[in-house]
């Protein structure tokens, strides 16, 4: 599993919130950030797939990231955003509670995922970034994209 997105000396991260935790993904994987919009439910899909949206003429799936990571999903509010990411040529929207900032993190400050104990299954994690007093959980989007198989099975 190559993870080019985190491979240079330092990475730029888009930092967002899920509940009280801060998460980050490489800015290179982020296509755009949208406000919450109408989502069309798609029947016979796992519950973390909220449905599909229209992004300038193309239809793309939206995943509720909190449900995907088995966290308690809350209500959507004004801060709720959809981050459009590109994973292996597929565009996916991810619903997050809020997008806070873009920051630069030296790669040395990233701890590999195995040493962390947390609520989120380690498969979906790339590591944890430390910056000042904050801990930013870095997600492994490629692993998250593996959800395609599960969908088909279900």
């Amino acid at each position: 599993m190559s993870n080019n997105a985190y491979s240079s000396d330092q990475v730029q991260l888009v930092v967002f919130k899920l509940g009280k935790e801060e998460y980050g993904i490489s800015i290179l994987q982020v296509q755009e950030i949208k406000r919450m919009t109408d989502i069309t439910r798609v029947p016979h899909t796992p519950d973390y797939i909220k449905g599909v949206i229209n992004l300038r003429g193309s239809v793309l799936p939206v995943v509720d990231l909190k449900k995907r990571l088995n966290m308690n999903a809350g209500e959507y509010n004004d801060n709720t955003r959809i981050i459009i990411v590109k994973i292996e040529e597929i565009f996916i929207g991810m619903i997050v509670d809020a997008v806070s900032e873009v920051l630069t993190l030296p790669v040395n400050n990233i701890e590999p995922a195995q040493t962390v104990v947390g609520g989120v299954s380690a498969t979906y994690l790339y590591g944890v970034g430390k910056l000042d007093n904050r801990l930013i959980i870095l997600l492994n989007l490629e692993a998250l994209a593996g959800l395609g198989q599960e969908t088909r099975a279900g």
């Binding site: 109408d38 798609v42 016979h44 229209n54 300038r56 395609g148 088909r152």
Partner: protein, 677 residues
């Protein structure tokens, strides 16, 4: 890398030219004396040769080059386009097609062109009666020394050009003195001297051999020079140890002397147009022709770009709708007018973009005359293929998929449909069978007919076969009427051919045809009469990208049902619903139709206080199956652009795709087939 950029263009154009070759060769076969057809063939071959040489595909270039030789001779009426030659040329085209295919797939090509090349060469020389060695034999007849030089085409052309520029070509035969010690040095000096006087275009033995002293005392050189022969002789003779120098001027070349042809034997001086002029002439002609074609031709665009364009137009339409809504809320007259104008423009734009994706069905039809010719020959039948309506346009995506099913149908028509000439004569028919391939518009559909005047399909035979193959029972067979029987042809594993040929009759054909056409959103019908022939009617939607659909609402959700699978819509009350073995059904004009509650099937979340006194039922069909789908309301009929749900959501059974509505919302398109099952 840079070459790659032209690769696509090369491949496309090669294919186009190969198709032209095929078409023209067929024409040539029927009218061997048609010079304009020959010219077109020549041009196509020439273009392929040029392109492939530029791209570095030497095999292709080599083969086309040999073809050109033959074609050139045909053009000059030096040989006749008999069936042997035409067959060989067809074979060349086939080989070229394979070569191009290999290039497309980026494979090493195993195709060996050598046998073909030698056949071509044999044709060129064999028919020619005598060999190119005597070529040009510009040797003035009164010349005391016989030329030993054989000039190839290139040399001849150079000489010809030189002569046209007022220069002379000489054959210089140099003999060195017996006992000459440094033959190679002498030869070198001779060559240098000659090169100062003019241009040496050839020497026998070749320069390398001269340098290695790999020659006897004599060598020959072909020299182009504007000097007098005597001057040249003096210059050469001034070199020591040269015994003798003979200078033979080449006669003014009239290349017809290049005696490739039988006729030339008896009349070696036969005058044909000088080739140079001929070449120029044809170059001009082909340039003209190219121009003519190009003015009616098109720009090649990647279909993906068109899709992007279509998407953008779709976006535009959606945003226009939003503007309209704003205009309505704020009641601005100026805005309303502008929007109206914009509305017209976007509608036109959408139509144009859709049109751009359309290609004439001729693109598929073009390859059939050749196929029919080959097949009917193999099967010893005489078939006349009539193509009509090749200008009928279909969406590119449909066109690409259409080839295989049509091949199947045509093969069936030739193999099973058309009888042998003897049989036809016995029936009092024209011994030449007729197959019609017709395309035409019919409403929002395109109809493609494959019609033969052969023996037709005998329903009794089909019944018997079907029973034999245990596809149906005897009892079932007895109940069937003839149209039902004919439809048995489409059952998987059915084949009526008495003997299985490699052409058809493996029992996969019709089944595959039906599947393919249905996958394209079309239908196949058969009409047949014994001894009068059969007619296969394919009905296809104009495009796959845009379909007519009925939008329906289920609670808060909107779904689109393709109109092509809708029979009708009716209103019922809950009381009309009966149950048979726990299956809800309704009675429609005496027919029992199972019903499906869409809300339940799709798990649509209930909205409180959302009850309907009246139920709308959309009666849909897929094949012979019918069902009623219960929805809350009917929104209306609309043209929708089909979008895929993408990889992540692929494989959801009941949904065929998605579309974007006027307000920017996404609506899902139902897959009627899987909902019914």
């Amino acid at each position: 890398m840079e070459i790659n950029q032209y690769m696509g263009m090369f491949l496309e154009e090669s294919r186009e030219h190969l198709q032209t070759l095929n078409r023209c060769l067929l024409e040539l076969e029927t009218q061997p004396d048609n010079l304009s057809v020959l010219d077109e063939i020549f041009r196509s071959a020439h273009t392929i040769k040029g392109m492939s040489a530029t791209m570095g595909f030497t095999t292709v270039a080599e083969l086309t080059h040999e073809m050109e030789n033959i074609l050139d001779m045909l053009r000059k009426a030096q040989i006749k386009a008999d069936h042997i030659i035409i067959d060989v040329l067809f074979k060349c085209v086939d080989t070229l097609e394979q070569l191009v295919e290999c290039i497309t797939n980026n494979q090493e090509c195993s195709e060996d062109i050598r046998p073909l090349v030698s056949t071509l060469q044999a044709l060129a020389s064999g028919q020619a009666g005598f060999e190119a060695a005597a070529t040009l034999a510009a040797v003035a007849e009164d010349s005391p020394v016989q030329s030993m030089l054989a000039l190839d085409e290139v040399d001849t052309k150079i000489i010809y050009t030189a002569q046209n520029q007022g220069m002379q070509a000489y054959e210089v035969i140099v003999s060195l003195k017996e006992g000459c010690l440094l033959k190679s040095a002498r030869a070198y000096m001779v060559m240098r001297t000659l090169e100062e006087l003019g241009e040496v275009i050839k020497s026998v033995p070749p320069v390398e051999d001269l340098e290695r002293e790999n020659f006897d005392l004599k060598f020959q050189v072909v020299l182009i020079s504007d000097r007098e022969p005597d001057k040249i002789r003096d210059a050469v003779m001034s070199i020591s140890e040269v015994e003798k120098t003979d200078i033979l001027p080449y006669a003014k070349i009239t290349l017809d002397k290049k005696p490739r042809l039988g006729i030339a034997e008896s009349k070696p001086k036969l005058t044909a147009e000088p080739p140079k002029e001929n070449i120029e002439h044809s170059a001009v002609q082909s340039a003209l022709a190219d121009k003519k074609i190009k003015s009616g031709q098109s720009v090649r665009v990647d279909i993906e770009r068109l899709d992007t364009l279509l998407n953008l137009v779709g976006e535009l339409v959606i945003n226009k709708t939003r503007l309209e809504q704003i205009g309505l809320t704020h009641r601005l007259n100026d805005l309303a007018e502008t929007i109206e104008l914009m509305d017209r423009i976007t509608t036109d734009l959408q139509a144009v973009v859709m049109k751009v994706r359309m290609v004439p069905v001729g693109q598929v039809f073009n390859r059939f005359p050749r196929m029919v010719r080959d097949l009917s020959r193999d099967l010893k039948k005489e078939v006349n293929l009539i193509i009509q309506g090749e200008e009928t346009e279909l969406d590119r995506t449909v066109i690409d998929e259409l080839g295989d099913p049509l091949v199947h149908l045509l093969r069936n028509a030739i193999d099973h449909g058309i009888e042998t000439p003897a049989e036809r004569q016995a029936k009092g028919k024209n011994p030449v069978g007729e197959i019609k391939l017709i395309a035409r518009h019919e409403g929002n559909n395109v109809i493609i007919l494959v019609e033969d005047d052969g023996r037709g399909i005998n329903p009794d035979v089909i019944k018997r076969k079907a029973v034999d193959k245990q596809l149906i029972t005897q009892a079932e067979a007895d109940k069937m009427d003839s149209s039902e029987v004919v439809n048995l042809l489409f059952l998987p594993g059915f084949s009526t051919a008495e003997t299985i040929t490699d052409v058809s009759g493996r029992g996969v054909g019709m089944d595959a045809v039906k599947t393919k056409i249905e996958a394209l959103g079309g239908m196949v019908d058969i009409e047949t009469k014994i001894n009068e022939g059969s007619k296969f009617k394919i009905r296809l939607p104009l495009t796959l990208a845009i379909i007519q659909a009925l939008l329906v609402k289920v609670h808060a959700e909107i779904y689109a049902i393709p109109l092509s699978s809708i029979d009708s819509t009716i209103n019922i009350t809950p009381a009309d619903i009966k149950t048979i073995q726990n299956q809800e059904v309704i009675l429609l004009r005496g027919q029992i139709i199972p019903i499906i509650r869409l809300a339940e099937k799709l798990g649509v979340p209930q909205i409180p206080n959302d009850t309907h006194e009246e139920l709308f039922v959309v009666i849909v069909h897929m094949g012979s199956q019918r069902a009623g789908i219960i929805v809350d309301t009917l929104i209306g009929q609309q043209e929708i652009v089909i979008k895929s749900l993408g990889k992540l959501l692929a494989g959801i059974k009941v949904i065929a795709g998605a579309t974007i509505l006027g307000n920017g919302q996404v609506a899902l398109i139902l897959d009627v087939g899987s909902i019914i099952q």
